[in-house]
Symmetry: C2
Subunit: 182 residues, 2 copies
C-alpha cells in the first residue's frame, strides 16, 4: 500500500447539523478555550458557550465567528454558506445550563465525581451539551446539580489529569465517533 500526502481533502458532509453544544465554565486560560474552539470547528460543532472573561484568540482558534465579549447571551453567526462555529459568552454557567435543559439538551459533564461513568462505556444522546469545568476548580456544585450525567476519561498515569482542552477534545472525538454523520 502506498501513501502520498493529500492536503485539503474535501470535508466530510454531515447528514444533519451537529446537535452537540459545548458549554464551558469560566476558564483560567483563553488559550485552552481557543484550542477547544479550533477542535470544535473541525468536528463540525455549531455552538460553543463560554463564560466569564472569555476571549477567543483567533491565532489559535482559526475558525470561529465571534464578536468579542458579549454579555449575557450575545452571539455571532457566520457569513456565507458554511455555518461555522458560533461562540456565545455568558457571565456564569448555571443559567446557561438551565436554558439548555429547557431546550431539550442532555447535559453531560466531563468531570471526576461520585457516580461518574467511564466515557468508554457511555452512549451519548444526539442532542447533548458537553459541560466543561475550570482548569483548577472543575464544575461548581450548582452546575453539577443541573447535569444529567457525568463522564470521566480513565486516568492511567502521571500527571493524573489531562489539560482541559485535551480532555474536551477527547470527549468531542467520542461524540463524533458515535455520530459520524451528525
Amino acid at each position: 500500500m502506498s501513501f502520498e500526502q493529500l492536503r485539503h481533502k474535501p470535508l466530510v458532509s454531515l447528514e444533519r447539523p451537529r446537535e452537540l453544544v459545548i458549554a464551558c465554565a469560566p476558564l483560567r486560560s483563553n488559550v485552552n478555550l481557543s484550542r477547544i474552539a479550533r477542535a470544535a470547528g473541525c468536528m463540525g460543532v455549531r455552538k460553543l458557550i463560554a463564560c466569564g472573561a472569555a476571549k477567543v484568540i483567533q491565532k489559535i482558534a482559526r475558525n470561529s465567528v465571534y464578536e468579542g465579549d458579549v454579555e449575557e447571551g450575545g452571539a455571532a453567526i457566520a457569513d456565507g454558506d458554511e455555518p461555522g462555529l458560533e461562540i456565545a459568552v455568558h457571565r456564569t454557567l448555571a443559567p446557561v445550563l438551565r436554558d439548555l435543559r429547557t431546550d431539550g439538551y442532555r447535559l453531560v459533564a466531563l468531570e471526576q465525581t461520585t457516580n461518574s461513568r467511564s466515557i468508554f462505556d457511555f452512549r451519548f444522546e444526539r442532542r447533548t451539551a458537553l459541560v466543561v469545568g475550570n482548569e483548577r476548580s472543575g464544575i461548581d456544585e450548582e452546575s453539577l446539580r443541573l447535569v444529567h450525567d457525568v463522564v470521566e476519561i480513565p486516568m492511567y498515569g502521571l500527571p493524573y489529569a489531562l489539560n482541559v482542552g485535551t480532555a474536551t477534545s477527547m470527549a468531542l472525538y467520542e461524540y463524533c465517533r458515535q455520530f459520524p454523520n451528525g
Copy 2:
C-alpha cells in the same frame, strides 16, 4: 443521581504495560510536543520518541522523565514504582521507524494521504507505534514508505485541520478505548 467532585481518584490499573509507542517527527513547537507528553502520561503510555531539536517543557508536560537533548537513542527511565513516560530524542524519524518495525510494531501514521482510512473504522493492533507528523509539513515521504497504515480523523468544518497535539490526543484516546486494560 447526585454528583460530587472527587479529585485524585485512584488510577485505573492496566493488566499489562501499554505497548503503544508515540513517534513524532521533528515538530515546530515544543509546546505541542509537551502537550502530547502530558496526554500520553495520563493514558499510561510508556514511551514517546521525539525527533530533531525536541525539548519537553515540564510546566506543560508535568510528568515525564527526561534528560534533555540526547542524541540518537538517548532515553531516561523513571525512578520508583511507577514507571512513567520515557522520552527518547532522535535526530530523524525514518531510522526510528525502521527500528520499531524490527521490534514488531505496527506503524500507524496519523495523516491525510491516498489510501488513508478513517480512524472511526480502524482496529489498532496492541503493539502499535503511532506516527505523528510536523505541524506544517506532516510526515515525510521516506517515513510514509515505512508505515503499515495511515489513519485520519474526519474533518467536518473550519479550520479544516486539528492542532497536532489535539489530533494525537484523539488518536491516543481511540487506542486506549480499544485497549482499556492495556
